[in-house]
């Protein structure tokens, strides 16, 4: 039995949709952020799989950039969550609705 690229693509699709379900169903803002990290990682898996099967290193280069963006996003996002928690004493996204009209 040979591992073809479809196995990696299906695993990656599964992890991406688990992340989507987490974002849509969870109410804790930090867990929503962790689900977004899961989605970024599943996209990374696709990039690395194609890069490895095509023998081209540019896909792995893009994974490097995605990691940079994820680190920046996590830092800023968690700072926002801390700032909101300081004001409203909650991280439940149902109660954080100051931008909702």
């Amino acid at each position: 039995m040979n591992i073809t690229i479809e196995y990696y693509l299906i695993l990656s699709a599964f992890m991406f949709l688990v992340g989507v379900a987490g974002v849509l169903t969870r109410r804790n803002a930090i867990i929503v952020f962790m689900s977004i990290e899961l989605m970024l990682n599943s996209a990374n898996l696709t990039l690395v799989a194609f890069s490895s099967y095509l023998g081209n290193s540019i896909g792995q280069l893009f994974v490097f950039f995605v990691m940079t963006v994820a680190a920046a996003e996590a830092a800023v996002g968690l700072a926002i969550i801390i700032a909101i928690f300081r004001n409203k004493l909650t991280v439940n996204i149902d109660e954080i609705n100051i931008l909702k009209w």
Partner: protein
């Protein structure tokens, strides 16, 4: 069954199961720890794909730095356990799961319909060469030097932004 297949299934099953456990645990700290395990098994998958540099970066940046940041914030904010799955907004949640399932089925159908392994097969020496730090660094510092500088600038901006946001007390 060769070693490649066994390793793929071990790491793949671990990463899929921990992803599901991550979004179903009610205690956020346990969810974060399952996410660490998921990142570690993804690093293993990268190794089966001959991407050594990315595997090491995954462990250092994701499972190390980013998850430590998440756990810090979780333990600073002591968020309470979430309610049971269907206690609040059950209709929205069931609808969301349904949408996610339909999109997953669609993606699997597309992957089998396009059947990429028909055109793409693994060339071991090429694949090994693509994953070395030498090949990645050569691309990074010749053709992609501008995005590299932009990434550095992005990190600087994120550092300043995080400092300003966490320091300021707005009302």
């Amino acid at each position: 069954m060769n070693l490649d297949t066994i390793l793929f299934f071990v790491f793949g099953i671990v990463s899929a199961v921990t992803a599901v456990l991550m979004i179903t645990r009610r205690n956020p700290v346990i969810a974060a720890l399952f996410l660490v395990l998921n990142f570690a098994s993804l690093a293993g998958l990268y190794l089966t794909l001959n991407a050594q540099f990315i595997a090491v970066t995954q462990v250092i940046v994701y499972a190390g730095a980013i998850m430590v940041l998440f756990l810090f914030v979780l333990m600073l904010l002591r968020p309470e356990n979430e309610q049971k799955f269907l206690e609040s907004n059950p209709k929205t949640k069931i609808f969301a799961m349904l949408i996610a399932f339909i999109v997953f089925v669609q993606l699997v159908y597309m992957i089998f319909f396009v059947h990429p392994s028909k055109n793409i097969s693994k060339d071991l020496t090429k694949s090994l060469n693509a994953g070395t730090i030498e090949a990645i660094g050569r691309e990074l510092f010749t053709h992609y030097v501008l995005p590299f500088e932009a990434a550095g600038f992005l990190l600087l901006a994120a550092t300043i932004g995080a400092l300003v946001l966490a320091k300021k007390k707005f009302d």
